[in-house]
Symmetry: none
DNA sequence: CTCTAAACGAGACGGTACGTCCAGTCTTCGG
DNA sequence: CCGAAGACTGGACGTACCGTCTCGTTTAGAG
């Protein structure tokens, strides 16, 4: 960090938020979720601990906000003209996200986010719901194009690709080989949906 | 102090191991993996902390051993005569295991076990490999019976059921509804393998 | 929010001063000097902290002002016609003051007021000088009446009664038994001054 | 306690105690009682905070023990052959003690030690009782020598010298001029006791 | 009576210290 | 003489205050 905040006017509101988010992501990258402490985040952001706790009662909230602040939900659904390439693009984007701070955060949050239902819901909404709605849109288009039959689309089948991708990431860590993604698409996702 | 009024004789070796394992599982159930500390496990087992560290350098090892001690790998592969019921039985057994201490442990270990590769490998072997080899045996028999074609069997397809089951457990927690398992089998696993 | 629903009008100047003094004395009574904080005084007085600091740079000043605002120096010197009863009245009044907020304040200020000489002087002037000048007036009258000899009056002797009273209060706390005051007067103060 | 460096195991506790006491006295000298913190004492002694709190629940206890550890009650009562010189010696010794860490500690403890009666009693025993018993021994000898009359000795008169000395120290701080001590002895203590 | 500058309440800010809990190491002593 | 018990250093926890500051709002007093 370059600037010395003692000389500068005190940061408030969004400016302070941004500094804390950056410090959180830096710590996440250096120490991992398990090694991330409020103390060090505060020190790194040159902020008081109270300023952190005033905004986020636990590191769970802090990390979730920090990750999704710099990595907002990518709203653009790939539209390449065929089911296979759409799914391939979607899973590659998911793999890219997992390889960054969002992945490290997700892994750590799994063991803490389920403590109360409100947190768990927020966690699922951000990490999980994304993939589902993406696949819904992709398959909707494929049905429209006549590529697949609507009856082949079920919730479990929409989740299968994400589940395989995440299982690999969670148990083997990054990076995720592209060959794996291709296999998931060609051996699992496409066959499941194109079955007559 | 002159006399030691402790009722129990000092435990050593396996007797102490067993007490520590039990304390570990109790703490896992009460506080979860994130809330489990060596300190409390030692206190609960009426043991010194050094006795824990001498045996297990980290809580990762301790928890893995404790879980594996009471929940040894079920070596019996279901053999019901049909692919569908075999897979159903296997996933139901996996779901049962996840709903107990092994599930809580797995969730927590995800964020710590990847730190060094030796640990990660041991972790994968116990938690992950299990499902894979089970499915290999089940599909081998189905091929023998002529129920499915050998060419339909690929690593990704063998993993798909486990991945969907675990994704649900990790993000939603226990209990795992049996309806979900049936859907996974009938909409994903069986179609993938019986496709001609 | 658009409207301000506070019932009370904003206080300024003396009205605010008075409210702060009252809050200070209340906190002094509840938490003692050691437990008194600017934060709580401000909250209790429904004032901003800056309003306190604008007037009193430290809690030392605040407490001294608050105490002597409600307990102004009693200017009336007892005049009962005899040395013994004059001194008795003076010490009883001193004991009464010590048993209230002034006593609690004095006890706490001892450990902080000496930091810089200006504060120390102000502190001595208000807490200490009082007794001395009272005794000077009392003995002056006794000399005039021919009750005692002027040569018997020395600074140490004038202080002896106050010193014994305060030593008891500081080390034993309130209340101060009246019997003690009588003993101080009859066994120490009067004998010292009436010695021929 | 006399330690034997050859065989007796120098308990980790006692060596640590000594280091903590020294750090406490250093902090007392540098920052004063009001500026003394458990945090800094621990850091200075290279000890963990828990090691401090395990022994002394509050800084009151810590400071009292530390001061008492290096400044044990001087058991030798001055015996110079005359009341005046005995008292002079006793008050000079008291003044010497007050000018060191014991004085700084006493000043600070006044505002906190009275919180509960057990602490207050311990505080009085150590700081206050000392002077009283010394004076009792001195006057007992003077009575034996026929220098003074036993009927002249009362608790208040025994306390008068200490009270004047302490009042000066508490309100004016160190150093205590020797001239003051001489005045206290010649104008107050001796006249009070030698009165016929 | 209006306008403006000061005073005000509220509370966020960067910090320090609190007293507690736990990690991982090291010492003591009992079996 | 090994190993159980637990004291040790160190560090993070989440909270309370410190003294400073910014933000709007009120209010007194000058024009």
């Amino acid at each position: 960090m370059v600037t010395d905040h003692r000389k500068l006017p005190r940061r408030r509101g969004e400016a302070l938020n941004a500094a804390i988010f950056q410090a959180t992501l830096d710590e996440l990258a250096e120490a991992g979720y398990a090694g991330l402490t409020m103390e060090r985040v505060a020190e790194r952001a040159r902020a008081g601990k109270a300023s952190l706790y005033r905004r986020w009662p636990t590191r769970i909230e802090l990390v979730m906000d920090a990750v999704y602040h710099v990595l907002p939900v990518p709203s653009s659904v790939p539209d390449t003209g065929s089911l296979r390439t759409d799914v391939l693009a979607a899973l590659r984007e998911a793999a890219r996200l997992l390889s960054g701070p969002a992945g490290e955060a997700m892994r750590g949050l799994l063991s803490e986010a389920l403590a109360d239902e409100a947190r768990a819901a927020a966690f699922r909404r951000r990490s999980h719901g994304l993939g589902r709605s993406l696949m819904q849109e992709i398959t909707r288009r494929a049905v429209e194009r006549g590529e697949i039959d609507a009856s082949a689309v079920t919730p479990r089948r929409l989740d299968a690709g994400q589940a395989l991708l995440r299982q690999h990431f969670l148990f083997a860590g990054p990076p995720i080989p592209d060959e794996l993604i291709v296999q998931i698409v060609d051996e699992v996702v496409v066959p499941l949906l194109t079955r007559r």
